[in-house]
């Protein structure tokens, strides 16, 4: 837990530093007609760095409890959600949301749930199809499309 806490503070301080750097570039003072662009970010960056320093102090002042940020047993299922979700986003970029979500739902049902092939086929095709009708047809909200939709003339 301590290591994760420290790592987060380090990242946040880095963010604070970047903000300050950019704020100084933009100008943190008074322009011709009011505060310059970097004025507000400068104070945000400063506050963030100060607050992070206090958090660092809190962490240093506390005895390490020895509780891990995430146990091996917890990390397994978390990753089992996270990487397929990432795969969905990658696939959406290439194939469009409809094909990607069909593959994603089908894969997940088989891999995690070991559902029967029949229900996998029905749901992994049915759910994207309903989505298509709701978004593209009824509400006219265009979603990312890929080669298949292009081939079908959408």
């Amino acid at each position: 837990m301590r290591a994760a806490d420290l790592a987060t503070v380090a990242v946040l301080m880095l963010v604070g530093g970047v903000v300050l750097f950019d704020a100084v570039r933009l100008g943190i003072g008074w322009g011709t007609d009011g505060p310059q662009s970097g004025f507000f970010p400068f104070w945000l960056g400063t506050t963030l760095l100060l607050a992070c320093a206090v958090v660092l102090g809190q962490i240093a002042g506390r005895k390490p409890r020895g509780v891990p940020f995430v146990t091996r047993e917890q990390l397994g299922p978390v990753l089992k959600v996270l990487w397929p979700a990432t795969a969905l986003v990658v696939l959406t970029q290439v194939l469009g949301i409809y094909v990607a979500s069909a593959l994603y739902i089908g894969f997940y049902m088989r891999w995690v749930g070991a559902h029967s092939w029949r229900s996998i086929v029905v749901l992994s095709i049915g759910i994207p199809l309903v989505t298509f009708l709701v978004f593209e047809h009824w509400f006219l909200v265009p979603l990312p499309k890929g080669p298949l939709e292009q081939w079908l003339g959408y």
């Binding site: 949301i97 994603y104 739902i105 909200v141």
Partner: protein
């Protein structure tokens, strides 16, 4: 203000079309509230793109009804599955889940829904009377007052939010920083983009909401394993009627919780402390406090009444000041902007039919809501019995669609994923997410108010101390900010005094 306004509002809210939207909203909201990982805020966020082509009044009725439904749905998971969908449902699990395990799930659910309704109704009544008055006052506000109120908003998170106040501050500042990324509309300069074109449009808070609360919440909830376990509902008409016979006995708890809920609720982040406060008050004033935590009906009534009263009260600052009191209200505020409305006190002047339609729909939406959930609890609870391997990919897909549809941009889906991981890490490390979202929403607004104030005063911060209303609000905000530092001292002082009293020998 007058009753003719409310009457006009009811004409809107009771039209067949809007009743239909309220109905759909409540059903969708309850489903969303029951689903793990989806709550009111991201439910509204995901649905927002679909409302673009609707008349604003119908759109807001759909979204607020969804919010009421989500609040009801949260009670179902807390009581039957011991999963608090939202932080303010945590107190409901204390007695709700034990009751369900003793086979009294029906009583617990009836009590929860009825209390929610009472709390919501109370707050709606107060909003009906106070909103126009507050809007009138707010009309006279200039930039310094607006900035002061926003300052107060965030100080309330630090002072009243509970948890680690410094980490709360970090969350707030991080939200403001994310809001500042992109084009500065005042000077036309690009900020913190470092030449990356994708960063020019900045971060949309709706995407952040979907990632932080949606994906992050799922990651957190699967840590305990890839399944959800629940207790049977045991709900039927007889149970409902019998519970209703008992409930009036708790009128004192109802009244107290309503006031706590409203009072805490119109301040940001107030719903969670309201539910806990109401629970502990109910326990303190109860004749048998030992039964709390074992499955006491009053222990369900108190937090639910307060949480719902607070949830509705969060709409008050949104419609009168343009400052949302909760993440869900923040998303709705974003909706107002997307529909071309300017949130804030002018709404009462220029879009009276919209505001009063919204207020009237709070009455109708909650009535529809309580009837629907009482009648269909088993159906809603059955959603959580859908196998995990189907539910999870569907929820993730819905989140991805919602994120994409905000700007039709693929980059937003990537942001959503990143926000999901951030949400997971922050939640585990006790960084609160609601202040981050609110800061992201209000960022530009707050910065502009600050800039305009400073322009008015030629750069002197004294402007926040010389205008009477601003000075009062600022003073309150500073007290809130200082609260975490003062509170331990006060407690120490009180304990010392108590010890001194106890140490005085009797008979002196």
């Amino acid at each position: 203000m007058g009753f003719e306004d409310l009457f006009l509002g009811f004409q809107h809210a009771l039209s067949a079309q809007n009743l239909f939207f309220a109905f759909v909203g409540v059903i969708l909201g309850t489903i969303i509230g029951v689903l793990p990982g989806l709550g009111g805020a991201n439910g509204v966020a995901i649905l927002l793109p679909l409302t673009l082509r609707m008349p604003p009044t119908s759109a807001i009725i759909l979204l607020t009804s969804l919010y009421w439904g989500a609040l009801f749905g949260g009670a179902i998971t807390s009581i039957l599955f011991n999963i608090p969908g939202e932080p303010w449902s945590v107190a409901t699990t204390f007695d709700g889940y034990p009751m369900a395990r003793q086979g009294k799930g029906g009583q617990a659910l009836t009590a929860a829904f009825t209390s929610s309704f009472v709390g919501a109704f109370f707050s709606t009544l107060l909003i009906t009377f106070f909103a126009p008055l507050l809007a009138d006052v707010a009309l006279r506000f200039g930039p310094p007052e607006i900035f002061a109120i926003q300052f107060l908003t965030f100080s309330a998170f630090v002072g009243l939010g509970g948890g680690n106040p410094v980490k709360t501050l970090v969350s707030i500042v991080l939200g403001f920083i994310l809001a500042a990324v992109g084009l500065d509309i005042v000077t036309g300069q690009l900020r913190m983009t470092f030449g990356v074109t994708d960063l020019m449009q900045g971060f949309d808070f709706i995407v952040a909401v979907i990632g932080l609360f949606g994906i992050g919440e799922i990651l957190l909830s699967v840590e305990e394993g890839l399944s959800f376990k629940g207790v049977a509902t045991g709900m039927n008409l007889r149970v409902v009627l019998e519970t209703w016979k008992v409930l009036p006995r708790y009128w004192r708890t109802f009244a107290r919780s309503c006031f706590i809920g409203f009072w805490m609720g119109f301040k940001p982040g107030g719903a969670t402390p309201a539910s806990f406060m109401s629970y502990s008050f109910a326990k303190r004033f109860s004749k048998n406090p030992a039964r709390f935590g074992q499955g006491e009906l009053e222990g369900v009534v108190a937090p639910e009444t307060a949480a719902h009263a607070a949830g509705v009260a969060a709409m008050l600052p949104m419609i009168t000041l343009g400052i949302p009191g909760s993440p869900t209200a923040a998303v709705m505020l974003g909706g107002l902007v997307m529909w071309g409305l300017q949130p804030g006190p002018m709404l009462f002047r220029e879009k009276a039919d919209f505001v009063w339609g919204l207020i009237a729909s709070m009455y109708t939406g909650n009535i529809i809501g309580v009837v629907m959930v009482l009648a269909f609890v088993p159906l809603f609870a059955a959603i959580l019995r859908v196998p995990f391997a189907i539910l999870t990919p569907v929820i993730v897909t819905v989140c991805a669609i919602g994120a994409y549809a905000v700007h039709n941009a693929m980059i937003d889906v990537w942001y959503m994923l990143a926000f999901g991981v951030v949400g997971y890490v922050f939640k585990k490390l006790d960084y609160p997410l609601a202040p981050l979202v609110l800061a992201l929403v209000l960022g530009d607004h707050a910065e502009n108010a600050l800039r305009q104030s400073l322009i008015m005063s030629q750069g002197s911060l004294a402007i926040f101390m010389t205008r009477p209303i601003t000075a009062v609000i600022m003073a309150a905000a500073i007290v809130f900010f200082a609260m975490p530092a003062i509170a331990p001292w006060l407690r120490l002082l009180r304990r010392r005094r108590a010890r001194a009293v106890a140490a005085t020998p009797p008979g002196d």
